[in-house]
Amino acid sequence: MKSALKGLSAKWLALYAVAYMVFLYAPVILLPMFAFNDATIISFPLTGFTTQWFDVLWQTESLHGAVRNSLVVGLSSAVLSTILGACAARAAARYRFPAKRGIMSFIMLPLVLPEIIVAVALLVLLMQLGMPLSLATVVLGHVLICTPFSIVILNSAFQGLDQSLEEASYDLGESRWGTFRRVVLPLVMPGVVSSLLITFTISLDEFIIAFFLTGTEVTLPVYIWSQLRFPGKLPSVMALGTILLALSVLLLILAEWFRRRAARKQGIEASATGGFA
């Protein structure tokens, strides 16, 4: 009786899991399907295979500008938030200071804060300060939301770093900077790369803040949004979305690979440091 119930609930659980996966990933699968579909209208049945929508992308000048902007914003945000994240993770791992937990969770807050609130708040602030909106203000916003992710990733890298390794380096006559360069950096490097990749991906995909804080120049997601008004361009937007999707997945896989490598290098179980991606 009991086992029958158990079997039943297991069945339901499986069904639930499948439904959930479909709900989660069906739109993602639709994207490449229509990107390669030989029709201007997004509807079933599919009519044939084509790569013409990708060719259209290749010829759209305004898109290239948006890609360039996104790359600039993505790289700047990734570098800045990784530097800030490294400082915070290092401080959290090595030093004891008053209200450490409070300060750390305060820094992590943007992780759970609705982005729209961050965007509006930043917009109001920038207006008050009289700063003109530009790609720089987008970078500012992106650094704000990327830094917590960077901290989470780098935390495991810095926590796993045995302090006696640094002491051994000083003891052998190396300076503080030399120790950082020869011991700390190589050991946290995979974590740093992982952080760069993930924050870059986040910035690349981010829409709300980019939409609110940008001036005349737009990033890729904002560009895509602006193109959605023209039904004729929908298939090429699908193609663009497909490229972005592939790129994001690739970057995240790379990031996770680096994070695991970091853990292995330090001789810790990767799972023990808390998987991120």
């Binding site: 045995d162 006696s164 390794l165 002491e167 051994a168 380096s169 000083y170 003891d171 052998l172 006559g173 190396e174 300076s175 030399g178 020869r182 011991v183 190589p186 050991l187 290098k265 330090q266 001789g267």
Partner: protein, 367 residues
């Protein structure tokens, strides 16, 4: 050991360390000599590591001075001190191979590459790791890691090598072997070694001199033999080996002799050479005697100076030795007597009445 130089290499004067409101070290005074194997021995939390880390330069003393090779170390950072450390965790750089680990310090000195390679190989041979330079750090066994850590310190040709419980992570057999090797290496190189340990046997077998520490203070600083034979107080006595404590009372002092009444053993006279300086006879309540200084007398045994009677209450057989618990009249706690097992002598069963022989010169008085 008599040939050992007594030129000081490290001088600790009133060294104190306070963490918040907790005083970890309460005024350490000690002089460590050149080419000496010096051990800091004490129970967990007595401040051994803290003292070693202050010598290395990782902690600054709250008070007092540390002089190494004639130079006051106040304000001298760890990377400019003539000391090198072997860490308890070994702290092998995980991203570097064995040779890069050992050559790490030489590289900071801008030593030419060829010379580094030569010295590294030399250091590796010294610790029996010749030819293993290209091994990755994670491919090493515990014993090999320990040797790499040692080679990495020795290659710097430091005046002092600091070792924080370097053998505690090894299994018993390897530990015994490393004790011998470490001692031989130190004697061959003539470098001062300072070893932190909480293992009294390790300290006794390896050291020229030992500082026994309790609660942030040095209780006694002496050679292993002196520590074992003449521990200054009960704490040191029970930390180093096994000691029987017996009630005693001083009954008088005349022409160089001290008259003692030991209820469990009888009345005796001690020569004044055995009485520590500054001993206040009125405070004398306890004496100590080592288990091997008490003998159960068998038929045909050598005669001893004094004989008491006791009853065997328990035995523990250790192969080469047998430990007896023996009740002596007028003494609440059983004493321990260790006897070497010889051919044709059987173990005395519990309940037997036995004569217990001892000599006055084996009595230890405490300050």
């Amino acid at each position: 050991m008599a040939s050992l130089s007594t030129k000081p290499i490290i001088d600790l004067a009133g060294v104190t360390k306070t963490f918040g409101s907790f005083q970890a070290l309460k005024g350490i005074n000690a002089t460590i000599h050149e080419s000496e194997f010096f051990s800091l021995l004490g129970p967990s939390g007595c401040g051994k590591t803290t003292l070693l880390r202050m010598i290395a330069g990782f902690e600054t003393p709250t008070d007092g001075t540390i002089v190494i090779a004639g130079e006051d170390m106040a304000g001298v950072p760890a990377n400019r001190r003539p000391t090198n450390m072997v860490f308890q965790s070994y702290a092998i750089f995980p991203h570097l191979c064995v040779a890069e680990n050992v050559g790490y310090g030489l590289k900071t000195r801008k030593t030419p590459k060829a010379e580094i390679a030569r010295e590294v190989e030399q250091a590796l041979q010294m610790v029996d790791l010749g030819g293993l330079g290209s091994r990755a750090a994670h491919e090493l066994s515990g014993g090999q890691r320990q040797r790499v850590a040692l080679a990495r310190a020795l290659v710097m040709k430091p005046k002092v090598v600091l070792l924080d419980e370097p053998l505690s992570a090894l299994d018993k057999q390897l530990r015994d072997q490393m004790q011998v090797e470490l001692r031989q290496l130190q004697q061959r190189l003539g470098i001062t070694f300072i070893l932190v340990t909480h293992d009294q046997e390790e300290a006794l077998t390896m050291s020229d001199r030992i500082a026994v520490m309790f609660d942030g203070r040095i209780a006694q600083l002496a050679s292993p033999e002196e520590l074992y034979r003449r521990p200054v107080d009960r704490r040191v006595a029970s930390f180093i080996g096994v000691m029987n404590f017996l009630d005693a009372r001083a009954t008088g002092r005349m022409n160089g002799h001290l008259a003692l009444d030991i209820p469990a053993l009888g009345s005796i006279e001690l020569s004044s050479a055995q009485v520590p300086e500054g001993l206040d006879l009125r405070n004398l309540e306890t004496i100590g005697i080592r288990p091997e200084m008490l003998t159960i007398l068998f038929e045909g045994s050598e005669q001893t100076e004094h004989v008491a009677r006791g009853e065997v209450t328990g035995t523990a057989y250790y192969g080469d030795m047998t430990y007896y618990s023996v009740r002596l009249p007028g003494h609440a706690e059983d004493v321990t007597i260790s006897m070497r097992n010889t051919a044709g002598r059987s173990i005395v069963p519990p309940g037997s009445e036995v004569p217990v022989g001892w000599g006055a010169d084996s009595i230890v008085l405490f300050q």
